[in-house]
């Protein structure tokens, strides 16, 4: 019993460490992609003493900017942590944590790999908590993240953060509905299960994105809005709101917001991969049983997540920001009716298929 708990705690620490590292490197990827799109080399100066001075590899890693996230993180850690005089101190300090914790919590139910028992041939997913209501948990917890933004905007007691917070709440509410409706057909398709591992196992032959492209599209667009990514980064929109909800934040509190945002992106990409791109499976290929297969499945999952995260970055540096009314118009007048129509269409299709069987 004790070893079970210890193992779970160890697993949780590994997953948290991995996701935090990925968030740091997502920032690097973001900066590199931005630089490449704009014809710049991007971060290529940061060096750490011993590793960076290895002749060829060190130079290559430095040019790649591999040590940059460490420098960024240390900067956030060691900067003076200012507490402006005009803020509501309790909520001001609370907000970054409220933004950060839900982002980290959602990963507990995200299955990111599978072990096939070599003897019995039974497949069990690698996941911190294999909940039967996995997707409900993700939707519920990830929408808590908006409280961090609203709290931050409100507690800052300053006009731009306040506007950012208001926009964040409006946008989150609008797109949450489309997000929820767009994934209902997926769970209908897999026989009403809400367990994410079962959804992945159901996609071992054909990905949901192929069967339900419209659901995937709506989910992806709503995901962009939910994670506050361009072209929907209303809460932040630095051209009209300075930096939106985190204008008054600095040092480590800003770092928490920042990492929380990128964690959201990674977890959101993970959910997209699980729901629409077959999770850790590859179509027509059966992974070997045992440890090798488990490692391979995790790597496949991470590769798919990387592709989606890269897509997030790619979109960001391609599209300009929507105006606030356009965001609302798209959310309520376009995506919501489309999501409802999509749900009805697939409900009918599934009913017909079940009748025929």
């Amino acid at each position: 019993m004790v070893t079970d708990t210890l193992g779970l705690v160890l697993k949780a620490f590994i997953v948290i460490g991995a996701v935090m590292t990925m968030a740091g490197y997502a920032v690097l990827l973001e900066r590199k992609v931005a630089a490449r799109v704009q014809g710049r080399p991007g971060p290529n100066r940061t060096q750490i003493p011993i590793l960076g001075s290895i002749p060829v590899i060190g130079t290559f890693l430095t040019r790649l900017g591999v040590f940059q996230p460490a420098a960024d993180g240390l900067k956030f850690l060691f900067k003076e942590d200012p507490l402006p005089g005009h803020v509501n101190k309790f909520y001001y300090v609370l907000a970054p944590m409220v933004a950060f914790i839900p982002a980290m919590l959602t990963m507990t139910v995200l299955p990111f790999g599978a072990v096939t028992d070599p003897v019995s041939g039974a497949t069990s997913p690698i996941v911190l908590a294999d909940l039967d209501i996995g997707i409900l948990f993700i939707l519920a917890v990830s929408s808590l993240g908006v409280y961090g933004i609203i709290l931050g905007g409100w507690a800052s007691n300053s006009k731009y953060p306040f506007l950012g917070g208001v926009r964040a709440s409006a946008q989150m509410i609008s797109y949450e509905i489309a997000l929820g409706l767009s994934i209902l057909p997926v769970f209908l398709w897999f026989g009403g299960t809400l367990n994410l591992s079962n959804v992945v196992l159901g996609q071992s032959q054909v990905w949901t994105a192929v069967v339900q492209p419209v659901s995937a599209l709506i989910f992806l667009i709503a995901l962009f809005a939910e994670t506050n990514r361009l072209p929907f980064d209303m809460p932040e929109s630095e051209t009209d709101l300075v930096a939106g909800y985190n204008t008054e934040y600095g040092a480590f509190k800003f770092g928490l917001f920042f990492v929380g945002e990128y964690t959201h992106i990674i977890i959101g990409s993970g959910v997209f991969v699980v729901l629409f791109l077959g999770g850790w499976t590859l179509p027509f290929i059966t992974l070997p049983a045992g440890t090798a297969g488990a490692v391979l499945s995790v790597l496949i999952f991470l590769a798919k997540v990387f592709v989606i995260v890269f897509f997030f970055m790619w979109i960001r540096w391609t599209l300009p920001r929507f105006r606030y009314d356009q965001v609302m118009n798209l959310g309520w007048n376009k995506l919501l009716p489309l999501a409802v129509a999509n749900l009805v269409f697939y409900a009918v299709v599934i009913a017909v298929i079940e009748q025929l069987n």
Partner: protein, 180 residues
């Protein structure tokens, strides 16, 4: 005046979904990602300075390593911000170059005043002062930024001579037509 009415066609369904436009935009940015960066990593890489560039004014020596400036003070006179100050001096009788008669004892260019206009280079009858390719000047004090003669010669070095003005005059004089 004739007014031309431009016909605004209603957007097609594909255009209204906005998706084809996004795809073509993504194509453009993806193409950009594979182009080499256009950035010049400045302190490590230096830009190519085109000929005729007006950088820091410097004093140059002729190909024989002799001082070209004869201390005529035309540059000092023409300099719009009065950045140049020359202290002329006579070349002693017993020197090898005594026939040149004058040379600057001190030649100062105040780089805090210099506007890089190039008039000094244009006016110099001996082609002794050139604005060359140095474009970044730094210093920690005002005194340091008043370039003295030795510094100006160090920056200038020797430039190839395209005329050999004095050699020609000398050979003409020897051939018997001194005003050629």
């Amino acid at each position: 005046m004739a007014t031309k009415v431009v016909e605004r066609k209603p957007l097609s369904l594909a255009e209204r979904t906005y998706l084809p436009q996004i795809v073509s935009g993504l194509r453009v940015t993806m193409k950009n990602m594979f182009k080499p960066p256009v950035t010049l990593e400045y302190p490590d890489e230096r830009p190519d300075i085109p000929p005729g560039y007006r950088g820091v004014p410097t004093l140059v020596k002729d190909p024989n390593g002799r001082e070209k400036c004869v201390s005529c003070q035309l540059c000092e006179f023409v300099c719009p911000p009065k950045a140049i100050r020359i202290t002329p001096a006579e070349i002693p009788e017993d020197a090898e170059t005594a026939h040149v008669e004058k040379a600057p004892e001190e030649f100062e260019i105040n780089m805090l005043r210099c506007i890089y206009c190039g008039l000094c280079q244009e006016v110099c009858p001996e082609e002794a002062i050139f604005l060359q390719d140095i474009f970044s000047v730094t210093g920690t004090s005002r005194e340091e930024l008043v370039f003295k003669k030795d510094k100006l010669y160090a920056l200038g070095g020797t430039l190839p001579d395209s005329h050999y003005k004095w050699e020609k005059k000398k050979s003409a004089e020897r051939a018997g037509n001194p005003h050629h």
